[in-house]
Symmetry: C2
């Protein structure tokens, strides 16, 4: 077993069937220095207890996952979604404040797909811009960065009408980079012929809130949401993407977030070990520090 890279962070989705306490425990036990938790587990443990556990752990807090799902049209569902995002912002602020130095108060945002029965993709995208504008003041007041995550276009109808890095940057452009940034995840962006140019733009504009790495391979599983693999197990050219992110000066944590049934069925400690190995082999060689 190799040593964990100092910039590696375990995103709790990778070890989905853990409580906050268990996730922290396996992460620390493996020598990993950073973690990003999911809201469902934080709420199950309670925010105060989660904050205390993060503070006691000595881990950095890399991102909070996740906000968004605010493409609904005007009405109670939209109001409720925005209120829920304000709570997520508060959680991100509290957890990051409890984390070790270098923690990041970044709320990853998956914007949501088309409302049921709708074909109005353009309208849904406009409502994303509107939702970000509505949330930005609360994010600014609490020192949290909204980390807009473009998702792979295969999720454009049901999970994220935000599909490219340029689209995310165009929305972010209306706001201070400390308030609205972007999440760069290899699995969502690897196919884009202009991905390195777009990463360079994200860097120039000071928007990279998080760099996440996981791999792509085919055939895709029946549930395409779970099509994520340890870095190095698929076809993504991590050298090109990682060097592009490094060239922007991004020096933060790098999360591995794996949604994959087989990985979820594996012992979390073993998953973290395999994550460390994959990261060391496929990603770490291209990091400048």
């Amino acid at each position: 077993m190799s040593a964990a890279h100092p910039r590696l962070s375990i995103n709790q989705a990778t070890i989905k069937h853990t409580t906050v306490a268990q996730a922290i425990e396996v992460t620390k036990a493996a020598g990993v220095q950073a973690i990003g938790l999911w809201r469902e587990q934080v709420q199950e443990a309670g925010l105060d207890d989660s904050v205390r556990m993060i503070a006691d752990s000595g881990l950095r807090y890399s991102t909070h996952c996740r906000g968004g799902w605010f493409t609904a049209e005007e009405g109670p569902a939209r109001v409720a979604a925005l209120d829920d995002n304000r709570r997520a912002i508060d959680e991100a602020a509290a957890l990051a404040a409890a984390g070790a130095e270098g923690s990041r108060a970044a709320l990853v945002i998956v914007v949501g797909g088309l409302p049921d029965g709708s074909r109005d993709l353009i309208g849904a995208r406009e409502r994303v811009r509107d939702a970000v504008a509505q949330l930005a003041p609360h994010a600014e007041a609490t020192g949290v960065q909204l980390a807009l995550e473009p998702l792979h276009p295969m999720y454009a109808s049901d999970r994220s009408v935000l599909s490219t890095l340029d689209q995310a940057l165009d929305i972010a452009g209306d706001f201070d980079p400390a308030v609205v940034g972007v999440t760069v995840d290899t699995i969502h962006l690897w196919w884009d012929p202009l991905v390195t140019d777009k990463i360079a733009r994200a860097g120039r504009e000071g928007r990279i809130a998080s760099y996440q790495v996981c791999d792509w391979k085919t055939p895709l599983p029946a549930d395409t949401l779970l099509a994520r693999h340890y870095p190095g197990d698929g076809v993504i050219d991590f050298e090109t993407m990682t060097r592009a992110v490094e060239a922007t000066g991004y020096a933060g944590d790098i999360e591995v977030e794996l949604l994959n049934q087989e990985i979820w069925d594996t012992d979390p400690a073993e998953v973290v070990r395999r994550t460390i190995d994959g990261f060391n082999t496929a990603v770490a060689p291209y990091l400048s520090r």
Copy 2:
């Protein structure tokens, strides 16, 4: 049953389990005026007999499907792929010449994915450009237009490293538009935030060889290749895309190409009827003629 729109063309993939004779028969019987055949079926029937059947049918020939699959590195497989594409060009020329007035000698090109074991996406994309350059003289000599088809990014690793319309246009830009054009297929491009701009560019540059329509909905089937639906059965905004194509002045046939197991298991005559209805409902209202 509504009357077939005069610009509708049945792509044989929609009625996959037909011979050339059967495909022509059900297309004509439904009052559809145009057809695009697939190479496998043409070769099974024999090229000369297929040409004769197209000539006798009175149908327009809209596209020939398909060439490409030329991302292999230098070696016998690449040479064989390019030779096979030259034969496909010859087939397209012969079949289009036999079709009714308004037929198009366009060879749809699906470029292929990453070679086995490769992560070199940039290199594979360069080899696409090289292959087009190698095929262009033969296409020009025979009067065939290579219709580069960007495929949805979910196929980027295994079917098409050509993923966006701009990427196709950038490659096409080195050649005469009569020799290298692009295929605009709603299912591959609908998610792109810049799709209407890119369609406008394709029009300005005189590159639209074919407009193909089919719909997207989730959940995707286990085999994502078969994720295509009758126009109107899913979430694609055909008004926006069709108006964008119309605005370029494209006045050619519009193919419906459905890869879908349930559709393949349906009687071809019924499939053509449902295709006519879907086209009339979801696409025809936005056509200027």
